[in-house]
Structure formats: C-alpha cells, structure tokens
C-alpha cells in the first residue's frame, strides 16, 4: 500500500508538472514581419526612346499592402510614341522599406530560374522582344531588358509577369512554373 501511495503521488506530481510546465505564453509575442524579407510591392517599367535618349517614360504599378487587393494604379499608364523603338527595363521593388528593396537584383542573380513575359492586348500595335539572357547553357531569354517597337496610334494593355521556373525553363514558355508577379499596365501609343 505504501508503494501504491508513493506511485500515485509521483504520478500526480509528474502529471501536474507535465500539464503546467512550458506554458511560456509564446503566442503573445506575435512575430513582426522579417525586415530581411522582401515582398514585391512595385513593378516599374522604364522605357527610353532609342531615337532620343532624353525621351523616357516611367510607369509604376504598386500595392503597398500586397495581401489586400487594393493596388495603386494611378501611375500605371505607359505613354509611348508611334512608330518608335524603345529600350525597356523592368524593376521589381519592395517599397514597404526605405530605401526600397531591390528585388530586380535577386531576379538577376537567380536568372536561370526566372522569366519575364510581356503580353500586349489584342489590337495594340506593340511588339516586345526580350534582349537579355540568363546563365544557362545555352543561354535562355530572361526579360529584365527588352525592346519595345510601336506601330500606329492606339490604346490597350500590356501584361507584365514574372515567372519562377525552377525546372523546365525554355526561355519562351510563360505557362511553366509559378507566377510571382502578374500586372496590367494601360498603354497609350500617341
């Protein structure tokens, strides 16, 4: 009986210890967003007219609260001259930080797994050709740099998308992998 009592007591003590230890209320410390982590908030297109390098146009699509679905598209219009050729760069930024985080550099660093795609809407007289390559062998298209060629006057849309393609990248197929950015710019060819 003595042993029984000791065992019962020991079990109860152990059980109580088990139940109430390590309740450190960890959950009350909500982890803040990691300052090192970069979220794409902004897609920016910088177009420079090959005929006149002082003629540049910048269009910006941004959403500083990227999970809310309330983008700021007031500057997301791209104005281009008719029958012209532009050298275009695309930038991916994290503007929740000051200075803004430059995600373009990381895309460039991991260029072998990324592809940027440009899709003008039907009827818009714009053709886009990617002009840069990644480090694959043979090198495949990347799309951070491109050449825009405009035709007659018109308006439409240009879809710019960033694809992460850890495998199967062929430099042209935009349907492979998963999409990290996918935004629409309004385009006016004047």
């Amino acid at each position: 009986m003595k042993l029984n009592r000791i065992l019962i007591a020991a079990t109860l003590v152990a059980a109580t210890a088990l139940l109430w230890t390590s309740c450190k209320k960890e959950e009350q410390n909500v982890a803040p967003p990691d300052p090192e982590n970069e979220v794409i908030t902004t897609v920016r297109i910088v177009a420079t007219n090959n005929a006149d390098i002082t003629d540049t146009w910048t269009a910006t699509w941004k959403d500083l609260t990227p999970s809310d679905g309330n983008p700021d598209t007031t500057n997301a219009t791209l104005k281009l001259k008719k029958d012209a050729v532009y050298t275009v760069s695309v930038l991916f930024l994290d503007e929740t930080k000051t200075p803004a985080g430059d995600i373009t550099a990381e895309v460039s660093e991991r260029s072998n797994y990324h592809l940027i795609c440009y899709e003008p809407s039907a009827g818009l007289n714009l053709t886009v050709v990617r002009t840069d390559k990644d480090n694959n062998s043979p090198a495949l298209e990347l799309g951070l740099k491109s050449k825009f060629t405009t035709g007659a006057v018109g308006t439409g849309r240009l879809n710019v998308s960033l694809h992460h393609q850890p495998s199967g990248k062929n430099g042209t197929d935009c349907s492979i992998g998963s999409t990290d950015a996918d935004v629409n710019f309004a385009v006016q060819i004047e």
Partner: protein
C-alpha cells in the same frame, strides 16, 4: 457484490455512495424512456477473443469454459480464436486451459458482447502466473463502428493512416498525391474528424486538407473507427466520427518478445521497416513492463502509368517507448513518441495564381518530365510531432475504475515554398515560408462504474489548453491560446436482447487570438468563447442471436477553426484568395444512424444507414469579384455558414460460397446537400464499390492459412457537384483490379507472415475526385507491395 477488506473499507463506502448517486440520478431518466421492465437474466451476449502464448503466438485447442455455467464453452481454432455465445449478463468467470500451459482465470462483467485476450504462461510451476487482458470496447456502444483487423490490418501496414482506412466501408481519403492522405468518415474530414492516438486527441494543424495526421500507424495494433457524431465521449470536432489507434496492452509474462515488419513496394521504390521490442523483467504478473518501437520509411518519386511525379518522395522516422507498472488494482504508465516526416510536394502542382492553375489544368500531363529519384527538393513539408503521456488507473474492490490521463504534445509544421523568399539574407533563405507550432496540454479523468443491476457507464472530466505560434515569412493564421473544459456521463442499461444507452456532455472553450496590425505593427487580441451541450441516445437490439440492430441519435459540435475565423490572403495550395469571418458560430451536428449486423455461419454482413444534419456548416463560398494582387488574379472565397445534410449508406458483406471460397463486397455511398444554398456539397466522395473473392486453405505444406484474393474497386463519376465552384469538372469514374496472396508459417516461437499485393494491376490511368492533385496529374500506376512480418 461488495467485498470489503478492512484496508479498503473506507474506499468502499465512498464507492458505494458514488454508486448510489449515479444510480439515483440515472434510474429516473432511463425509466422515462423505458416503461417496460423486463425481468430475468439476459443470456444473449457473446464473448470472443484469442488465446496466445507468451510470445503472442496463437494457441490452438485451448478450452475456454464459463465456470459459472459449465454448459458453455469453446475450443480455439488454429488462429487461437474462440467464441462463446449465449453468455448471460453479470459477473462471469472464465477459465482457459491448454496442455502445457497454466490455466488462466478471467473475471468479466458482461453487459455487452465482450472480447478477452488470454496470454498463457508456459511454465506449469508458476501457478499464479495468469494474465488476462480485457480489450476495451468502444465507449459509445450504440454508434456505428468498424475496425481494421486480421489480414486487412496486415495489408494496411506501410500505408499512411488515410490510405489504410480507405478500405473500410464508410471511409474514404482526401489526398494530395500518393503520400498525403487524410481519413474521410461519412464524407467529412480534417477538423470534422477526431483522431485519438493512444487515447490522446491528436492536435496538429488539422484544418488543412494537405495536413496529414502526424501519426505512425505502426504504434497501434488496433485501428478502429467510430462512424457518427461522438462528441459526448470525445468532445468537440467528432462530427463525422473518430479514428482510434490503440497499442496492445504491455506484456504480462516474463521475457522478451516483439515483431519486425519489412515492407517494400515498386512504385516510388518505397521501403518501410518497423520493429517492436517488449518485455517484462519480473516473474509476477504485477510489476514493470516495457516496450520500444521504431519505424523508418523512405520513398522516391512515384509513377503514373505514363510519367513520374516529380518531387513526390518522402522520409519518415518515428519512435516510441512505453513503460508501465502494475500492482493489484493500480496501473501506471508513461509513453513517449516522436514523429518526423519530410514530404515532397509534386512539382507540377504549383500555381502562383489562377492563370498558372488554368495552364496546369489545360495540360494532359505535367509540363516538366521527370525520372526516379529519392531527392526531395522545394517545395516540401517537414513535420515533427512529439507526444508525452502519463496515465494512472485504479480498480476499486467493487470493480469500478478511475483513470487519469495527462498528455503534452508539440506539433511543428514547416512548409517550404517552391521559390526561395526574395531576400539578401542567407539565413532567411533557409527558413520555411510557413511555420506553425502548436503545443497542447490535456488531461482527462474518467470513472468507469462497475456493472451493477444491469447498469454500466462512464463519467468524466476533460480539459486542454493550446498555444499556437505562427512564425512564417508570409502571414497565414494568427497566434492563439485556448482553454477547453468539459464534463460527460454515459449510462447503459442492459436487458434481455436490448441495451439502452444515454449520454450527455457540456463543453466550454475560451480562445484568445493575438494579431499584429499590418500598418501600426501594434499587437492586439480578440477573445471568443464557445459553449455547447451535446447528447446521445441509442439502442442495441438482438432479436435473434445472429442479428444485431443498433440505432443511435447523437450530437456533436465544433468551434470554427482559426483559419475559418482569421485567414486572410492567398492560399497557395489551390491559388485562391481566402477571407475568414471572425463572427462564425459553432457548427452543430445531429447524426442519426441505424446499423444491422448479421453474423451467420456462411453469411456475414453489416449495413449502416445514416443522416447527419449539420447546422452552421462552415465552408468557402465564391465571391463575385476576383481579387487582383501584384502576383495576379485570384478567385476570392469567403468562409460562410449554412445548414447542410449528409446522408449515406455503408455496407459490407462476406459470403462463404464454398468451403474455401469467400466472396466479399463493400459499398460506400455518400450524398451531401446544402439546404440553404439549395445545391450539392462540394468534395463529397463519389460512390465506391469493392467486390472480391478470396480462396483460402487451412494449411498447405509449411504454409498456414494461405490465401489468394482478387478484388475490383470501382469508383463512379461524381455527378452531384455544385456548378461553378470547382476549377475542373470531377474526373471520370474508374475501375481498378487488385490482387494479393500470402500465408503465415510458424516454427516454435517464431512466426512469419507474408503478403504480396499487386495494386492497379492493369496500370489504369485514372484521377480521383478527392485527390487535389487530380488537377495536375494522374494517380499512380501499377504497384507491387511485399510485406513480411516476423514475430518472436
């Protein structure tokens, strides 16, 4: 009936008082329900079980007799199995005698069909070394239940829990490819199905359909399922049912024994090995006993009939240890288990937005070709689950039993997306994008009253507290703390041919959620409380010996889970934008079911018919406007509540056509309907029919119980779906042909069981409605599985 020795006198008096209170409380309730009082003994119960030696090998030819009624008894067959029918209720004394063994004596209070396992001692000189392990019945006798046993249990070895249970009538599995499967009971899954692992509620992030149970099924030698609302005994979440995984009792005989499983399969080149070692140092039936167990599992890329599924490998390492001490009525035990798995997520299943998903849907096979490899690349899930359990029980002199169980479990789930996070920090690149840590402490105190005056029952208190910490890079669900407490009582009254069961429970939950404002970065909290009363009532009626009719009406509840309340953002696994609703109320289910079971000599079968009405059923409803994010356009869904009903039929039949030929059939039919939206419920299992034939012999050369079995599994096309809710129409129905053969062999204390199964023998291309990967790829093709179990 009360034998009070002096030392137990005080306890006995207390016990009697408790007894009187219980009886005084319950009799009026039961009398209202039963105006008819039937006098006399009920002699319609069955005691069945097995007789094994100390090494757990079956003992054939053992004679089991009821000492209190010498006309009744049975002799075990080669499997060590016996069945005694027409047993009267009340106290029965059984003896088990076999040549070369000490006679075992078992005392059992019969109020239902019971099971007993005799483990015989070989040494005739140790006269009192007699051990009997009574196997616990389900605590709710009148709710439909089913069990994986015998060959089915052996054939389920090496499979995940969800896959293993799929072969039971009324069960399906919701899957994310070949390695992630969750059990579906009567059309419900995830946080509407409760899993009890070794008596402890399994707590992980069970709300996610791609979050499989963090359990090694090898810990359990008894896998059973309660089909129907069972909140009264098990608390919240038991809306669809409960899966119970129970290990064998610890060895009661001195010595060391164990078993080793070695399982290999061709598809995925999967290998599984699991070993159990157990022993008892002392000669007395009381004293210490122990068990250690471990499992290793490894698989590479699985293969459909035409192509490999890239990055579908898995690694798993699990272990557990138990130590128990027994002295007279007291039993104490401690259990600890660890579970770790790393699961590759099929590369073709990644969709950054709806355009990616549409592109994937339009392909007839994945965009990138693959080959066989054991490597697991991004994306993958890595899960750790630790469980510590302490239990103590005391059996009073009057056979009443008080049991305390306390447990702590820690679930850590890390999910790595296919892309590395955009960062310059190397440390951050190694971190998971999503990380959940859930720590649960739980305790339960249950009193099982002894069977007296035809009454039996359980009463208990249960409580738990949980702390959830989310540490992901991208926000998914908030941190929270919950406290839950409940009290229940279940009482049974057994008459000749009839048993009545009645139970009630009350639960209270307090939950405080901690969030951070994304703009001000201030932490704030929200507190929600939920309280629910549940009840159950049922009848078992045995008009004739072979027929058992069971009916039950029970209720269950579930508090909205944290994702349903607070999720806000893109759900990557299906490229949708989800919005939680913090004003959601508890789900409440009223489940009624009728079961008819026939156990004839040649025909055995069971039919369950049920209707589960769920009020405030929580589901996602599509919003008119899609959400435009930087990463593209996403269909928007918001969690909402409606009244729904799920009805269905499960049936299983076995018929011995000839002496060595048995035909077997199983049917699972489920219909789910939303009464508020006046439409079908999404993701209800399609009709499933399984028909097979087994040839078995008693003995063939050195082989014992050799068998050959062929089975067809036919799943129809799901046509009852709500329009416009799914990304793709349900896949076509399919028909698979599976075959298996095996035998067991015995040499002294060594026993070998061998089974070889060929699954999907015709290498049929098919997709299953409940497999989320059906959007992207076919199911796996032909698969040969070899299983060996060696026991000693």
């Amino acid at each position: 009936m009360f034998v009070c020795r002096r030392t137990f006198l005080i306890k006995c008096i207390k016990q009697r008082t408790v007894e009187r209170i219980v009886v005084a409380l319950c009799i009026p309730v039961l009398c209202m329900l039963m105006p008819l009082q039937v006098a006399g003994q009920n002699c319609n119960y069955k005691i069945s079980g097995t007789v094994t030696d100390a090494q757990r090998h079956p003992v054939a030819g053992a004679v089991i007799r009821i000492e209190t009624d010498s006309t009744k008894g049975d002799v075990t067959d080669t499997g060590g199995v016996f069945t005694i029918r027409d047993v009267c209720n009340g106290h029965n004394v059984l003896t088990c005698h076999a040549d070369g063994f000490t006679t075992a004596v078992a005392h059992i209070d019969v109020s239902n069909d019971s099971r007993i396992e005799f483990a015989l001692s070989a040494d005739k000189n140790q006269l009192h070394e007699v051990v009997v392990n009574g196997v616990r019945m389900q605590d709710l006798h009148t709710v439909a239940h089913t069990e994986l046993k015998g060959l089915q249990l052996l054939q389920s070895r090496g499979k995940s829990l969800g896959e293993a249970l799929k072969q039971l009538p009324g069960l399906n599995a919701i899957q994310n490819g070949p390695t992630i499967a969750k059990p579906v009971i009567h059309g419900l899954h995830s946080n509407r199905v409760l899993i009890l692992n070794n008596g402890i509620r399994q707590e992980g992030q069970q709300w996610g359909s791609e979050h499989a149970p963090e359990i090694d099924p090898f810990v359990a030698n008894r896998v059973s399922v309660v089909k129907g609302a069972a909140s009264v005994r098990y608390g919240a979440d038991a809306i669809g049912g409960v899966v119970l995984l129970d290990p064998d009792p610890l060895p009661a005989k001195r010595g060391i024994g164990g078993d080793v499983y070695v399982i290999g399969q061709t598809n995925g080149q999967m290998g599984t090995t699991s070993a159990t070692l157990q022993g008892k140092p002392g000669k007395q039936p009381d004293g210490l006993a122990w068990r250690v167990q471990g499992t290793l599992k490894r698989a590479g890329n699985f293969k459909t009939p035409d192509y490999y599924l890239k990055n579908t490998g898995l690694e798993e390492e699990d272990g557990s240890a138990t130590v128990g001490y027994k002295k007279k009525g007291l039993e104490v035990s401690a259990y600890y288990s660890v579970f770790h798995t790393k699961n590759g997520i099929f590369e073709g299943s990644h969709a950054g937005n709806i355009a990616d998903l549409r592109a994937a849907l339009s392909r007839d096979k994945p965009a990138t070709q693959s080959y066989f490899s054991y490597d697991i690349a991004r994306s993958y899930q890595e899960i750790y689950h630790d469980l510590a359990k302490l239990s103590a029980s005391y059996r009073f002199a009057n056979e009443g039993k008080l049991e305390f169980t306390g447990a702590r479990q820690k679930d850590l789930r890390d999910e790595y997306d296919i892309s590395l996070p955009y960062t310059l920090s190397e440390e951050l690149k190694r971190k998971p994008q999503v990380s959940f840590q859930l720590i649960t402490h739980s305790g339960e105190l249950v009193y099982t009253q002894p069977t007296r005056n035809r009454f039996s029952g359980n009463f208990g208190l249960a409580g738990n507290t949980q702390g959830n910490v989310f540490k992901g890079i991208r926000y998914l669900i908030p941190n929270f703390r919950t406290y839950t407490g409940g009290a229940f009582g279940i009482e049974r009254y057994s008459l000749a041919k009839v048993t009545f069961e009645l139970g009630a429970r009350y639960d209270y939950r307090w939950q405080r959620v901690y969030q951070r404002d994304p703009v001000t970065l201030r932490t704030y909290n929200t507190t929600l409380t939920f309280s629910n009363a549940t009840a159950t009532g049922g009848i078992i009626y045995r008009p004739v010996e072979k027929l058992t009719l069971t009916g039950n009406v029970g209720t269950a509840w579930r508090a909205p889970s944290v994702n349903e309340l607070y999720i806000h953002g893109v759900h990557f696994s299906d490229a949708t934008y989800q919005d939680g609703d913090s004003s959601l109320k508890s789900e409440r289910a009223i489940n009624s079911g009728i079961t008819a079971a026939w156990k004839g000599k040649r025909l055995r079968g069971e039919i369950d018919v049920y209707y589960n009405h769920i009020g405030n059923y929580i589901y996602e409803t599509p919003q008119a406007q899609p959400v435009t994010l930087l990463s593209g356009t996403f269909p928007a869904f918001k969690f909402t509540q409606d009244n729904v009903g799920i009805r269905g039929l499960d049936a299983s039949v076995q018929y011995d056509l000839l002496k060595h030929v048995t035909l077997q059939s199983r049917v699972t039919l489920v219909r789910g309907y939303n009464y508020t939206a006046k439409d079908w419920l999404i993701y209800m299992p399609a009709d499933r029919y399984e028909n097979g034939v087994t040839f078995n012999l008693h003995e063939l050369g050195f082989m014992r119980e050799p068998y050959v079995s062929v089975e067809n599994v036919t799943v129809l096309t799901q046509t009852r779906v709500p329009p416009g809710l799914d990304f793709a129409p349900p896949p076509k129905g399919y028909s698979l042909l599976n075959a298996s053969t095996g035998f067991s062999a015995q040499a002294g204390r060594h026993k070998l069981q061998f089974d070889i199964t060929a699954a999907n023998t015709t290498n049929t291309r098919y997709r299953d409605y409940l497999d989320k990967f059906r959007y992207y790829a076919n199911n796996i093709g032909i698969n040969f599985i070899v299983k060996c179990k060696y026991s000693f």
